[in-house]
Symmetry: C2
């Protein structure tokens, strides 16, 4: 009997249809054809998905557990996503809420190469929460972006990342932007004595990304960002595999629809190699609930076959005034990301950034 | 004034909130920061998204049109998706329903390199609809898959594609599977005199895909499949750009959530280079409506700055008995894909495939 792993969905449908719907998902996510047309006994017993459980959650929603064969995943994160959601993503009444991670898949993907502790070590932090911000807006010429990054880094922040909209536009091409900002942040770090990191956004296909990674490495950069649901989760796996010295911040662009955010960020992106998980925090511009955010952070940090914990990184409309609340909520093991509201400080950006960093650094005794 | 293009969303929210929601989308999808913190006048006038229109569609749904700057897209399909949906994908109450394609973006991406006419030419078809099927299930050893492909090709079908679940699993590794199936289909084509094509599924990151493409080319293959929403749309663009001799079938895995299917398949995937657009047909396993399918096919074939028409390819639970209905509905300019139900014919697969192909080939006088 080959190994199976359990996938859990929430399905909205009439009670008298749920058994057929569950069976349909099990087939859709495995062989996608009528079972009567399958002659091979091994496929019927070992490859076809099996309904492992159905529970009525009330209000017309059912929890459906499907057991899929581990061997259908191969060694590709994209194929794993294809198997656990794939075609079923087209059913708006179904969402993916949990995936059991067997030791075999943990071994194949390997999780974060650095994780929260690696991100702390890069900036000389012991057990404290980390701080991050974003360089915005797109459209600023490179000199403006570099000047802004310099002022943010003068505040002593840990990670200063590109806005996710920075790609390779004519107004700030990657090959010009990244060296300029890297130098500006290094100059500020030399002044403050704090090892602030600049984190450029990667874009394009894996070929383009690799040339971006090479340039980043030449600039002394050791931490990068990508949006795995936009670039394809195989690109996240590829960085962790081929560029293990680079730490990776995962950005949530295109992460909506079909997968519960706590599972996607806290478990799947961590499994596939993300060191930090940027997500839309509760009380910000997006509708995430406190309990979803707590679950996400809990998953990112939970023991999982020896994989390193990833840094939960709440973001999206955060403000300095919320730092105590957020640290009470998330505890020490977190990276707080404040973007736009820091930038609103105008000429006082270094002071505002420093106030943010101090508030975080000194919160836990 | 720089060029802008219009993006249309459907937004579900209370009427007294829609103006603020529309403005929030315009900012989220452009600069993602408080406008008060932007000092650069050019960014305010040329980069910040603008609300171009709001219409009440009734039942609590509004149509919101946003004008974004073309220059924010750069030349990357991933970045285009990042700008037109990106973070807004996390708002379940917002869906992307239309994107105006300016000539500049059509010129950058170039659309299908072969399109419907190229796919017809490959199999010597004049103005008739095309036929396609899928090789299933995963888990069959390579010899079984090759034997099945051979029998399907004996029926004279045009395109015989991998199931989208075929990746690089141990039970049928790409490097062994693809040459074996290619040879089996070529052997059948020599017997029938019809130039049936085998279409392998690509997976993994772009580096891996390119080694798969090289192997496919060595096997005489000129048509491949990928799931752009799974692999990242940049991989679709990369094939069209770097492997222009390959035709590409786009598979809908992971296409659910956030983008109207007619727009995604008929316009966006065509723009980014897909020659055929496999979508979940009405009356099959997925909930697509006839009007959505009609709109999708209409978009795939409509004039668009000289881009080639792509082949609408309805699939998902199709059956031979529906051929007349589907051809009446879609007309000549279509590729019909029947997968699982052909395979149910067992030992009569060649005859059933031939009946399918004949029914399609002879339908239009």
């Amino acid at each position: 009997m080959s190994a199976r792993f359990h996938i859990t969905y929430h399905v909205r449908c009439p009670a008298n249809e749920i058994e057929a719907r569950a069976q349909a998902i099990a087939i859709e996510q495995s062989v996608e054809m009528p079972l009567a047309a399958i002659e091979d006994a091994r496929i019927l017993s070992e490859i076809v998905g099996q309904v492992a459980g159905i529970a009525d959650l009330g209000r017309g929603v059912f929890e459906v557990r499907i057991a899929l064969a581990v061997e259908t995943v191969g060694e590709d994160a994209g194929q794993m996503l294809n198997m656990i959601l794939g075609n079923t993503s087209m059913h708006a009444c179904v969402s993916l809420v949990d995936v059991e991670i067997p030791a075999e898949l943990a071994g194949i993907f390997g999780g974060p190469r650095h994780g929260l502790e690696g991100l702390r070590a890069r900036v000389g932090a012991a057990r404290r929460p980390l701080t991050a911000t974003a360089i915005k807006p797109q459209g600023l010429p490179v000199e403006g972006l570099a000047a802004l990054a310099h002022r943010l880094a003068l505040g002593g922040l840990d990670y200063i990342k590109d806005d996710h909209s920075h790609a390779d536009q004519a107004f700030s091409p990657f090959a010009i932007r990244v060296p300029a900002i890297a130098q500006a942040v290094r100059r500020a770090a030399a002044a403050t004595g704090h090892a602030s990191r600049y984190v450029p956004m990667l874009n394009g296909d894996w070929g383009r990304m690799q040339s971006e990674l090479r340039l980043a490495r030449e600039c002394g950069i050791d931490t990068v960002m990508l949006a795995p649901m936009l670039s394809g989760v195989a690109t996240l796996q590829a960085i962790a595999r081929d560029w293990p010295e680079m730490a990776v911040l995962a950005h949530p662009s295109m992460s909506g629809g079909g997968i519960a955010a706590d599972l996607l960020f806290g478990t799947l992106l961590r499994l596939w190699g993300a060191d930090a998980l940027i997500f839309a925090n509760y009380g910000g511009r997006f509708g995430f609930t406190p309990s979803l955010c707590r679950n996400l952070a809990g998953r990112a940090l939970a023991p999982l076959h020896g994989l390193r914990p990833a840094a939960p990184t709440p973001a999206g409309g955060m403000e300095l005034a919320r730092v105590p609340e957020l640290l009470d909520f998330f505890g020490r093991d977190v990276m707080l990301l404040i973007g736009g509201s820091l930038l609103a400080a105008g000429s006082r950006i270094p002071e505002e950034a420093a106030a943010f960093h101090r508030a975080v650094e000194r919160y836990f005794p």
